[in-house]
């Protein structure tokens, strides 16, 4: 039998003060990057605009593409290589020209530049301003909707403290993922939104496993004299090998997507990659830690209340 841990008994919860500092620092770095860069870089899904994917027969010179597009007056275009050296993506901002006219002009301009050789337009995506705005709102609603559902479900299955702490943990993961996107100059697109929502599910999944264990232990006859913090630490330790194994498999799955899934899945897989790590961390050091501190705060107040009554 291969075993990662034999009766692990690490003091996770005891080191939570350090973890709070780390969590706050990472969150601040992420938020700082977001503020410094003026928010997320949105894909045309959210900003509106046109994206054209072109495959050339020979690897082209970017300057030539740029020059040829400069003549057609469709605004400042962004030209990026996309995976293969012959494959390029051209992004055009929203202009008051119909989608049909845009692809016609781009095709004409690229065709006029003889040195670029033959090319094939493989994808055209045009998103109007109205759709972009709707999608931005939708993204916010979907994330909020997911969080509210989780809070309600957990408050119902466990208690309000657990529900709120789990949502804070998930929010932490969302901010870390968005910060990582910003730090690595990646774009926020529809697939990234899907990945973010997955991470919300994944992170809360982890948290539930720990909570469930705590509840089960408390339901049985526990050795007396163990504080709530110790009980939580036991639950985290008892589920440790499961947590690590699951995180590893999910992590490997995300890694395979990141390295084999191609350019289209890259940003999606990146968020999963980051999210699996922070999701695993936040279960212990945000959700569980907060429940411990919240509970001891409440119990402390109760004790002080009782003492005050006794004195009087």
């Amino acid at each position: 039998m291969i075993e990662l841990f034999k009766n692990p008994n690490y003091d996770f919860i005891g080191k939570r003060k350090w973890a709070y500092i780390i969590s706050i620092a990472i969150t601040l770095i992420g938020l700082g990057s977001l503020v410094a860069k003026g928010g997320l870089r949105y894909d045309i899904d959210f900003t509106g605009g046109t994206l054209i994917q072109v495959r050339f027969e020979q690897p082209p010179q970017v300057a030539k593409i740029r020059a040829s597009l400069g003549t057609i007056q469709l605004g400042e275009s962004i030209i990026q290589q996309f995976g293969d050296p012959r494959e390029y993506i051209i992004r055009l901002p929203l202009v008051a020209v119909g989608s049909e006219e845009i692809s016609r002009r781009v095709q004409g301009a690229l065709g006029a530049e003889a040195s670029l050789g033959k090319f094939e337009i493989r994808r055209v995506e045009f998103v109007g301003p109205q759709v972009g705005r709707e999608l931005q709102l939708q993204a916010v609603y979907l994330v909020l909707g997911g969080l509210i559902w989780i809070a309600i479900y957990l408050a119902f299955r466990f208690d309000l403290r657990g529900g709120v702490a789990a949502v804070i943990a998930v929010l932490h993961d969302v901010i870390v993922c968005l910060g990582a996107l910003s730090l690595f100059n990646r774009e926020f697109s529809l697939p990234v939104l899907a990945a973010l929502l997955t991470i919300i599910g994944y992170s809360v999944n982890d948290t539930i496993v720990a909570y469930d264990r705590l509840r089960e232990n408390r339901g049985r006859s526990m050795p007396k004299g163990r504080t709530f913090a110790q009980q939580m630490n036991d639950a985290v330790n008892q589920t440790l090998s499961r947590t690590i194994l699951t995180s590893l498999t999910t992590f490997f799955s995300a890694a395979v997507l990141l390295f084999l899934g191609g350019k289209t899945l890259e940003d999606f897989a990146f968020v999963l990659f980051v999210g699996v790590i922070t999701g695993t961390y936040s279960t212990t050091y945000v959700a569980a830690a907060l429940v411990v501190d919240w509970t001891s705060h409440v119990e402390g107040r109760l004790r002080r209340g009782k003492k005050a009554v006794a004195k009087a």
């Binding site: 045009f126 194994l245 498999t249 995300a254 899934g261 899945l265």
Partner: protein
Amino acid sequence: MPRHLRFRIGLVLAVIAVSVWYLYPLKSSINLGLDLQGGIHLMLGVEADRHVASQTDRAAEDLKSALERKGIAVKRIAREGNTAIKVELASPQSWNDSRTVVAEFSSFDRRDDDQAAGTFRLVMNDRRVSQLRDDAIRQGADQILIQLPGIQDAARAKALIGKTALLEFKLLDERTPIDQALAGHLPETSEVLFGREVDKQTKAERKIPYVVQRRALLTGAELTRAEVSADPNSMGNWQVAIEFTSTGTRIFGEVTEQNVGRRLAIILDGTVYSAPRINERIPGGRAVITGQFTVDDARDLAIVLRAGALPAPVVILEERTVGPSLGSDSIRQGLIAIAGSAIVVFVFMLVYYRLSGLVADIALGLNLLILFACMAAIRATLTLPGLAGIALTIGMAVDTNILIFERIREEMRVGKTPRAAIEAGFRRALRTIVDTHLTVMGTAVILLSFGTSSVKGFGVSLFIGLGASLFTAYFFTRLLFDLLYMGRRKVDAISI
């Protein structure tokens, strides 16, 4: 013997059989999205306000001529915004006369009267505005989604947007002989329209006259769907199947009921396409337009009918065109990624949990089988993010097995016998598993009900995948353990 063993074996076999039945044959059972297959996705916006504005324009013209008929000279009459008409009379003396004329325009309210200057404004009342908007939008949403899988010629499809096709259903006037009608002898209520027939060999076009009643019983405004299919009655020809709104369905039912035995002409832009005889009442609101359509003609017609029957102009809000070569590239990459992550997981489970790992792997296989079968059964579309969702489901399904196995190991560590350990392990782990699955399925429901396009596809595959994972954990993995260890023979150890 464990409980209900026969029932559980039967259930699992039934699920496998149904899944295979839905998936066979694989090529036609799974619906590929545009990003995988190539094709065009168009989201059209109906400009309902422009419809309102054009109605206001018309009312302004009507008002002007109505006033002039009464001998009231108008200095200026113009539309303001979408719903208001500003009227300036040539002389304030005619003020009182204008009141009676204006009163006839009941869908407008009179405001800002200025008798001394001879000016006033008419504002369309809210009821009329919302009625006009509803007319324009018709399907309850101001966006129309047109998806044309497999089509590469985006320009051709888009050129059709904005074109209109007037579809009408009129009864044939069979009492008036055609030669008489052609000579001009026909009742007021009838007219002559022509159909076209093209000879396949000579390509010569022949015109066939029909005498039809002028009144259209039903028009394309009552249409909700138009789809292309092969004409079963004539090889190589295509037809357009249409479906009516609920109002249209009711009218169509009544018309066919009251006119059994008569012929109903299907007329498109004044040309008769066919005039089938009504054999019986047609409920359900479905009809088929046949003609000698090629597949392209039929496709054009379907687009024009869907987008063009609207009274308001449309604009393209969103367009996504994926070339076929890119589509097959993304399928290949998606499949490689899925296969890659599946292999990583399979090998890992086998090495770490040995025989139990094999059980988990078989369960994982069943999980994927159910997932694809459900997608085929509900005709869900498999998109690129959908493929990613499946890859993720694999990861989460494995978590279920890890939870169970770790729990069984733990129970054995405290000294339970193998059978008791399995029993307790499953019981305790399943509570957690139900909790984790329900939470994530809840978020998946939010995605699939409020998300659009690719996010929705992701939500669908995630939801189904997790449902399948719950099923396999509860029925299948447990069943295999029961078969392996719960028999009569003595069990000393579990390969886990």
